[in-house]
């Protein structure tokens, strides 16, 4: 127990928690969107994230040759490299997510198999992907290159406002605003919401269910890809099992906010990130996950549909 950090590092922890939490909420979109449409936990999303971090890593260190001994970039070049690796990560994640849907879900859905069968096939995909990566990287953790020099804007109330953390806060917020617009305003977005309310009725209304489901996986993959890029940029390392911890955290975030719900994922991730930062500062990082799960149980006891669950129920019935 170390409560003194609350006074000395309060804002600094909040700031880091904000960045971590927003990365969580981007990944939890991969769970929550798929859950909204299919009512299934997309177990393979954690490995989609893992592949995204590797896509970023390989592009930066091999294609652009950014290593400690390699080339030095400055100015606009850095922006272009970051943009390229962001796009690469998004494309890889979206493609993998759509493949996961084809391999693990489509056939089973067509046959009307039970939920658990799809869950196990998704777990199979997840094992396959992480083990494949483990063999390729020979189980070694990789330190990713530092493309973006971590200069600071200065300190506000003891919090070090660094460029990478700022990026990890601004980009997710932009993504969420765009996605929220997309889901409420556009035709495709409306069809996603229609399918999550009632699959049968939307079929009767002429919506192509398969296309909507593929689109949902694609969007989940894109946001997970952005998260993978941000994670690699901020934490500068990756390993084949990085997806596992991230997956559990992101899924918890989705449930905390109320699964199947965009805003739920956003606030759930945020709450989780900040909670984790404070818990590991006060109780020590080994008790971080325990605290998180206890909070989750408490929240679900009093609000059984998550923090923003009411909105979900309204859309469902």
């Amino acid at each position: 127990m170390n409560f003194s950090v609350l006074t000395s590092q309060f804002w600094s922890l909040a700031f880091q928690g904000l960045a971590l939490g927003l990365i969580y909420s981007l990944v939890s979109l991969g769970y929550t969107m798929v859950y909204g449409v299919l009512r299934l936990i997309n177990f393979a999303n954690s490995e989609v994230f893992m592949l995204g971090t590797f896509a970023t890593f390989y592009l930066e260190s091999y294609v652009f040759d950014v290593t400690t001994t390699g080339k030095q970039y400055r100015g606009m070049q850095v922006v272009w490299i970051l943009l390229a690796s962001l796009i690469a990560s998004m494309i890889v994640c979206a493609v993998v997510a759509m493949l996961v849907e084809v391999v693990a879900y489509r056939r089973l859905r067509a046959r009307g198999a039970n939920k658990l069968a799809s869950l196990i096939s998704a777990i199979g995909v997840s094992i396959f992907l992480s083990e494949g990566m483990r063999i390729i990287t020979a189980s070694k953790p990789l330190a990713s290159p530092r493309v973006l020099q971590k200069w600071s804007f200065g300190t506000i109330a003891g919090a070090d406002i660094r460029i990478d953390t700022v990026l990890a806060i601004i980009i997710p917020i932009i993504v969420f605003v765009i996605l929220d617009r997309f889901v409420t305003k556009t035709r495709l977005g409306k069809s996603i919401r229609a399918v999550s309310m009632s699959e049968e009725n939307s079929k009767l209304m002429g919506i192509n269910i398969n296309r909507v489901i593929t689109l949902t996986f694609c969007i989940g993959g894109l946001t997970t890809g952005i998260a993978a890029f941000l994670y690699t940029t901020v934490y500068e390392n990756t390993v084949y099992k990085v997806g596992f911890t991230m997956g559990i955290a992101a899924f918890t975030a989705a449930v905390l906010g109320g699964i199947g719900n965009l805003r739920g994922a956003f606030y759930g991730g945020l709450a989780l990130g900040i909670l984790e930062q404070y818990a590991s500062a006060i109780l020590g990082s080994q008790w971080k996950s325990v605290t998180v799960f206890l909070v989750l149980v408490l929240v679900l006891l009093f609000k059984p549909n998550g923090l923003f669950g009411e909105a979900v129920q309204q859309t469902r019935t």
């Binding site: 009512r39 198999a113 039970n114 069968a117 096939s121 777990i123 083990e131 149980v297």
Partner: protein, 349 residues
Amino acid sequence: MIMSIFKDFNLRDQGAHIWAGWNRTVRTIFVLVVLGVVCLLPFAADWGPTSFLNTPITSFQNVLVYPIGMFVLMALGLNIVVGKSGLLDLGYVAFFAIGAYSQAIMSTTLGWNTWEIMPFGIAFAMLSGLLLGLPALRLRGDYLAIITMGFGEIVRLVALNINITNGSEGIPGIPNPPKILGFNFDLMHPQDFFWLVLVMILLVIWMIRRFTVRRPGRAWEAIRQDEDVASLMGVNTLVYKLWSFVIGAAVGGAAGVLYASKVMVISPDMFKFDVSILILACVVFGGIGNIWGVILGASILAYLPDRIRFISDARQLVFGLVLIIMMNLRPDGLLPRKKREKITEKGAM
């Protein structure tokens, strides 16, 4: 064409049909013969024609105890929760861990033997099942999944971080069960251990079959098909869900006690989330809700990684592939539950 035969062929229904045609004597003889063959399994690796069963690195006798025997036991326990009453439990390893740590701590500090600790291990697992179930079982299915998953992680993390469990180094020097009726449970006699596990498996099968034909079994079936309707029909759903949860936990706890006294040293690393997933995979792979399917599924999935150790690095990769392919070909598992039970289920899913 071949695919469609493969799809429609239901070994379970065929088997049930043949079984129904037999009278009591034939059934008794059949059961005894099967039991006899299973009892002789530890010697299969030494006998010429079946020596292909031998696994590289670990001897076949040891593989029969762990992972095969243990996984069959745990899969049967989880089947009560997932298969019978339809509750998705992603943290089953927690009960296994609680049983194992009861054995480890009580045997090294109090000096008790396995048989004395067994009731306590089971009781602790049941108690934790009750404590977890009381809040968690009030929630909808998918929330239950994450709470149980969290519980599994919490048990592991607590074991990793408190003093009594000796942290990440684990507890060494756990004694084997003492000699009983001329059976030696030590390193030199893995077959005796296998027979012990077999007895426990038979006990669990007997228990499940008793439950299934009685009131709890019917209540579980009703809850699995449609919880709201069951509740309207006067089934006290929370109580029966708790029962299935707690009984499942008891089996996990018993398996844990036995496991700890077999391997003699345990550490938190053995109780990771992967184990929960693997046990769940055994249940679904074999056929949710059908005891024989679950046993078959658990035997195959537990044996496979050891068997294909020669492709050592890629064995988990192959394991993942097998899961994907099998689930796509036979989504109801190798031996699905009875057709009658399945058709009614469709509405609920």
